[in-house]
Structures are given as structure tokens and as C-alpha cells.
């Protein structure tokens, strides 16, 4: 799982992510406490906070993605961190919600520019074989900081004030900027057709690229559906617990249980998920999560009141499955997107679900009012399971395997014609042979004529005597 940390660039990015993720959670808790407890403002202000955080991700992210593709990555990330530090320092001195909201909006705006630049850097510097493990580590960091951050934030806010938590958050952004300034300069080649393209032209090309790539369209479409379905019931969780006859004290435990499951899932996928096809992981994870949510829904509809311990495996299972989704989705995006498009594609991939995430709770609340919270969980869970099953059934090939898929089968016939025994090779070996370039095949052709002179009776020079020509030296 820690294999991606061998790559210096990822090590630097990961260190920066750990620090700034932690700061983000301190910041969020402090914002809520400042609005609700210090300024004594009502739900309207908390809703406004949610809106100024969501709007940049939904509206500005695709534009920020274009900038991330046009501008050098390291200066963008460092500048975003420093700008966020300055804005969070502003929060320390914010006298009212009317100053606070624009500052939070501005901070989120810079986050929308930071994230695609970070994704583009990962795509350009981490080998494809290590992307799944890299995303598992990122997910692990997200989950761990989600547990540690609010606890630490609570401690700081409790011992001092929310404004101290803002100051600490600002410091984490400065530390992150210092860490990221150690990244190497990263030049990503732009294809000729993109040279001189306008900003809007590049934006359009980003959308068109997603529409052309079946795997990308399927991944983004299915994650959008999943986010929509999850957010129809996510805010109804306290009501679902009540319907199951469970007390309010179990709400925190169930959230922690999902977090723990996600940590276990991220570790498991990072350690053992390398051979799993990313779409199979995405589809299966959604299907499992959907079934488990539907089970909760059935129990709420029927009115099953059981001991809290009965729900532990369900909650853990949802956590593990969520890790499957959250690790496989960015991996598919990275594998399917060339480095020069990564900013636009990753930004769009986050924008669409964000829009649905804003609408879904309202729809969920309306349905729950009409038919009850149990039916919302049952319906959304079942739909999520169906989405997962469809993704699993389709599961197009992604990433490194794609070129082999497109390579002409004549390669194997040509190698066989040279006398190379290709019948017994494994699927992976076959993919390498099928993907040989014309130049590689030409050299093998030249060399292949000499195979007839091989003399297999003397043992000393180890490799020629132990190597099956088609199987390589493994």
C-alpha cells in the first residue's frame, strides 16, 4: 500500500495533503461553532455557509480545471495554499457573517483551483500501476483526518476560541505551501491541436473529451447518480436511527463506524486491490453499499427494533464499500485521462456530483415527509445497488490495458511466425506482446532469424538457458 510513497513527488503531495486536510477540518468545526454558538445565528446562516462552500465546486471548478491545465502546477498549488492561508487569517478577524461568507467563498474558490492541479500532478508523476494504491493512501488520509481533525478542532475551540482554530488552519496552509514548493517543476506536453486554443475552446474540449470516452462518461455518470442517491438519505440519518428504535447517542458511533470501515477498506484496497479491475471495484462497492442501505430501509419500514450491535457489521460494511467507491473513481479518472486534460476532467468530475449533492437532500426530505424515511432508504439503496450492478456488468477496460486492446492481433501471429512459442503465455504477457510497436517487432524480426542457431546443451550463462523466448526473463 505504501508503494506510491517511493515516488518523491507523491510523497511531497501526500505530506501537503495530510497537513491541509487536517487544517480543513479544524476550520469547518470552528466555522460552525462561530456561527451557531458565538454569533447565535440560526439555520439560515448555516445553510448560507453550506451554499458558499458548494457553489464554487459546482460552478467555478470546470473553469479552474482549464487554468490547472494551462498553468504550471507547482506555482498554482503553492499560490492557492498561500491565498487560502491569507483568507483564513481574514476569518480570524471576521466581525460578522457578512464578512465571513465571502472569505469562505474565496477560500473554496482557491480550493477548486488547487484540487485539479493536484490531480494533474499525481497523474503526471505516479506510474499507472501505483495509482490505485496512491488513491487508497489519499482516502486513508482523508478518513484519518476526518476523525482527528474535528477532535483536535473541538479541543482547540473548547480550550480557546474558534479564531485560534482559524489561525492554526492558516498555519497548516503555509506549511503545506512550504512542502509543495519542494515539488519538481512539472512540464506537461500539450498536443498541437491545443496550442493557441482559447480558454473557452479548451473548456469545450474538456467536456467533449469526457463525452467521447465511454469509460469516463460511465464513471462520472454513475458517481453522480450514486452521490445523488446517497444525499437523498444522508441528512435523514438521525430520523432513520429513530425509526430503528436507536437512541441519538448512536448517531456519532454510526458515523465513526462508517469512518472505521472506510479506513479498513482503504487499507485493504491499497494492499490487495492492484489486480482488481477498477470498474469491477466501483460497481461492486456501489452494489454492496446499496444493498446494505436498502436493508436498513426495510428494517425502518417494517419497524424492526433490534440491539444496536446487530447494525455494527452493516455500518462497517457501508464504510468499506464507500472506500471502494472513493478509491476506484479517481483511479479510473486518472487512468483514462491524459496528463494535459487532467485538470479539466477531474474538475468536471467533481462539479457534476456537487450540483446533485445540493438538490438531493431537498428531494429526499420531500419524499420522507410523504412516505417516511424508511422508504427513502429502501428506494435509494435499491437504486444504488442497481447502478452498481450495471457498472459491474458493463465494466469497460481502463488505463494501461487499453492500448493492448486496440493493438492488432497480427502481432501474435507475427511472433509465432518467427518461431516464438506464444501458446502458453499468460493474459498479461499476451497483452505485452500484442502491444509491441512496429519498431520493436522489426528488431525482434531481425534477431528472431538467429534463434535457429541456439544451442541448448551447455549450462553457464544463466538467462539464455532458462528463458522461454516468449515468456521473458521472469
Amino acid at each position: 500500500m505504501i508503494a506510491p510513497l517511493r515516488h518523491r513527488t507523491f510523497r511531497v503531495l501526500f505530506s501537503g495533503q495530510l497537513v491541509s486536510n487536517l487544517g480543513d477540518w479544524l476550520d469547518y468545526l470552528a466555522l460552525v461553532v462561530l456561527i451557531a454558538y458565538v454569533w447565535h445565528r440560526g439555520p439560515g446562516s448555516l445553510a448560507a455557509l453550506a451554499v458558499v462552500i458548494a457553489i464554487p465546486w459546482a460552478v467555478a471548478a470546470p473553469f479552474a480545471g482549464v487554468l490547472a491545465d494551462r498553468w504550471p502546477k507547482r506555482p498554482v498549488m503553492v499560490a492557492c495554499d498561500l491565498a487560502r492561508a491569507a483568507l483564513v487569517v481574514g476569518l480570524v478577524f471576521a466581525p460578522s457573517i457578512w464578512v465571513l461568507l465571502p472569505l469562505v467563498f474565496g477560500k473554496t474558490l482557491f480550493s477548486t483551483a488547487f484540487a485539479p492541479a493536484e490531480q494533474a500532478t499525481i497523474r503526471a508523476t505516479v506510474p499507472e500501476d501505483d495509482l490505485l494504491a496512491a488513491n487508497s493512501l489519499s482516502q486513508l488520509a482523508t478518513q484519518v483526518t476526518k476523525v482527528v481533525g474535528p477532535a483536535l478542532g473541538g479541543l482547540i475551540v473548547g480550550l480557546s476560541s474558534p479564531r485560534v482554530a482559524f489561525a492554526v488552519d492558516a498555519a497548516t496552509f503555509v506549511v503545506s505551501a512550504l512542502i509543495l514548493s519542494r515539488l519538481p517543476r512539472l512540464a506537461v506536453e500539450r498536443p498541437e491541436e491545443e496550442e493557441g486554443a482559447s480558454f473557452l475552446g479548451q473548456l469545450r474540449e474538456g467536456f467533449a473529451f469526457i463525452a467521447r470516452r465511454r469509460a469516463l462518461a460511465l464513471a462520472i455518470g454513475s458517481i453522480s447518480a450514486a452521490v445523488f442517491l446517497v444525499f437523498t438519505f444522508d441528512t435523514l440519518s438521525p430520523l432513520a436511527l429513530r425509526a430503528l428504535g436507536l437512541g441519538p447517542s448512536l448517531l456519532g458511533l454510526s458515523i465513526s463506524g462508517i469512518g472505521l470501515g472506510a479506513v479498513v477498506g482503504a487499507v485493504a484496497i491499497g494492499s490487495f486491490g492492484r489486480r482488481v479491475q477498477p470498474f469491477a471495484l466501483l460497481g461492486a462497492s456501489k452494489a454492496i453499499a446499496g444493498v446494505l442501505v436498502a436493508v436498513i430501509g426495510v428494517a425502518a419500514v417494517v419497524g424492526v427494533h433490534s440491539a444496536p450491535a446487530v447494525w455494527i457489521p452493516v455500518v462497517l460494511g457501508i464504510g468499506v464499500a464507500s472506500a471502494g467507491v472513493l478509491v476506484s473513481f479517481p483511479t479510473i479518472i486518472q487512468l483514462e485521462t491524459p496528463p494535459n486534460m487532467m485538470g479539466r476532467v477531474s474538475a468536471t468530475a467533481s462539479a457534476v456530483p456537487t450540483v446533485l449533492q445540493m438538490i438531493a437532500p431537498l428531494i429526499g426530505a420531500v419524499i420522507a415527509s410523504a412516505v417516511g424515511v424508511g422508504w427513502v432508504l429502501l428506494g435509494s439503496g435499491s437504486a444504488l445497488a442497481v447502478v452498481g450492478a450495471v457498472v459491474f456488468a458493463i465494466r469497460p477496460r481502463v488505463g494501461a490495458a487499453a492500448p493492448a486492446e486496440k493493438a492488432p492481433p497480427e502481432r501474435l501471429l507475427a511472433l509465432a511466425a518467427l518461431g516464438l512459442p506464444i501458446a502458453g503465455v499468460s493474459g498479461e504477457q499476451r497483452a505485452v506482446l500484442e502491444a509491441l510497436s512496429e519498431d520493436e517487432l522489426r528488431v525482434v524480426d531481425d534477431v528472431g532469424r538467429r534463434l535457429a542457431t541456439a544451442t541448448p546443451d551447455v549450462v553457464a550463462h544463466e538467462v539464455p538457458r532458462q528463458t522461454d523466448p516468449a515468456k521473458g526473463g521472469e
Binding site: R6, H7, T9, P72, A124, T125, V126, P127, D129, P184, R185, L186, A187, A400, P403, L415, L420, E428, Q429, A431, V432, L433, A435, L436, S437, D439, E440, V443, V444, D446, V447, G448, R450, L451, T453, A454, T455, V458, V459, A460, H461, E462, V463, P464, R465, T467, D468, P469, A470, K471, G472, G473, E474
Partner: protein
């Protein structure tokens, strides 16, 4: 499958042909005459290793912002010191066979040797320095067995001092190979880089076959037998 495994898979296609050519030397009744010729030729190749790596490192630094070039520079900078002095080992072995240690330096390196090494300079200078790792993958990826030095000692009649270079490489190159494969798998290689690695590695094998055939042709018995 990792990049290093994919590369070794490609190398595996051509390696048996090279092995067959090499064994025509080691199995030859004229191995005593062929071995000093082998050393002279290998000196021409090996003495270019360090300058070639230094050229590649310099080229990598020119490609500022290229993460693959940065990785290649890191690996070669660590590795170049380990290659220093290997040409001297060969001269000492040559001396132990009773030949003049200055002989390889007096000879004009053959066009086949120039093609083998020169192509790496070309790819490094005029395309991308990652090509050199394809060459390194062949030159260091398949160390001679420890038995080979003993076998040649028996067959050629030379003392153990004439085979110290082979014996040292049998030990050192296993470590170098493992380091190399790990370094290769750390690079963020695109499909084009992997193709270049494959072409460079396969071309190196083809070049080595040509060079070894040239060694065989220098001894009349083998030249007549062809």
C-alpha cells in the same frame, strides 16, 4: 504487470538468440583465442558506460520539468559511480591472458561497436534519455552466472586472474539489476517511453549479437565455419 516486467518480457523475445551467439564463443574449441578478443571488444563498449551516463544526466537536466527525465537523472546519478573503473578491470584481465593491456586502446572500435553505443548517444541527445535505461536493462539485467568464470578458466587454460571481471559482475550485477528494476518502476512512464525502452533494449541485443559474431569472425576457424 509493472513496467520493468513488461520490458523484460520484450527482452525475453530476443535474448535466446544472443545467448546462442555468446555460447558459440564459450563452447568453441578456440575459446582461448576468442576470450582476449572478447575482452578487447568489451573494453570498447564498457569504457563508454560512464561518459554515456554522464551525457544522459546532462540531457535530463536540460529537460527541466520532465518527471521521467528527473527520475532517470536520479537513478543514473546514484549509479554512475558504481560503473567507474570497470574498464580497468577488463584491461587487468586482458593483461592476465598475456596480451598487451594497451591493445584495446590502439584498435579502432568497429562500426558494430560504434552502432551499439552510438545509437544510445543519439537517442539520449536527440530524443529522450530514458532510452539509455533500455540499454542498461540488457547490459546489467542479465548477469553472468558465477559458474561461467570457472567454466572458461577450465576451457581456456588461463588463470583465475583473467576472469575477475566476469566473476565480479556475476556478484555485483544481481544487486545492480534489482536496484535498476525498482528505479524503473518508480518512473511515471507513458506508453511512448515504454516503447522507446523496448526499442533501445532490443536494439542493444541485436547490436551485441553483431559484436559477438564479429569476435567469432576474427578467429579463422570460426570465419571458415560460417
Amino acid at each position: 504487470m509493472t513496467a520493468s516486467k513488461r520490458l523484460r518480457q520484450k527482452i525475453g523475445l530476443a535474448l535466446p538468440a544472443f545467448g546462442a551467439t555468446a555460447w558459440r564463443i564459450w563452447d568453441s574449441p578456440s575459446v582461448g583465442e576468442l576470450y582476449p578478443e572478447y575482452l578487447c571488444t568489451m573494453h570498447c563498449i564498457v569504457r563508454s558506460s560512464v561518459p554515456l551516463m554522464q551525457t544522459a544526466i546532462a540531457r535530463c537536466h536540460e529537460l527541466d520539468g520532465d518527471p521521467v527525465a528527473a527520475g532517470v537523472a536520479d537513478y543514473l546519478s546514484d549509479h554512475v559511480g558504481e560503473e567507474a573503473g570497470h574498464d580497468e578491470w577488463i584491461l587487468q584481465d586482458l593483461e592476465a591472458t598475456g596480451r598487451d593491456r594497451e591493445e584495446p586502446l590502439r584498435r579502432i572500435p568497429s562500426p558494430r561497436v560504434a552502432a551499439l553505443v552510438g545509437s544510445q548517444y543519439y537517442w539520449t541527445r536527440h530524443h529522450h534519455p530514458v532510452a539509455l535505461l533500455g540499454h542498461v536493462a540488457v547490459m546489467e539485467g542479465y548477469p553472468p552466472s558465477v559458474e561461467l568464470a570457472r567454466l572458461l578458466e577450465e576451457r581456456s587454460g588461463y588463470g583465475p586472474d583473467a576472469f575477475r571481471s566476469l566473476a565480479r559482475h556475476a556478484m555485483l550485477d544481481i544487486h545492480h539489476r534489482d536496484e535498476f528494476l525498482e528505479a524503473l518502476d518508480r518512473l511515471p512512464l507513458a506508453p511512448d517511453h515504454e516503447t522507446l525502452l523496448g526499442v533501445s533494449a532490443l536494439h542493444t541485443i541485436e547490436g551485441l549479437i553483431g559484436v559477438f559474431e564479429e569476435i567469432l569472425e576474427r578467429i579463422p576457424l570460426h570465419a571458415a565455419a560460417r
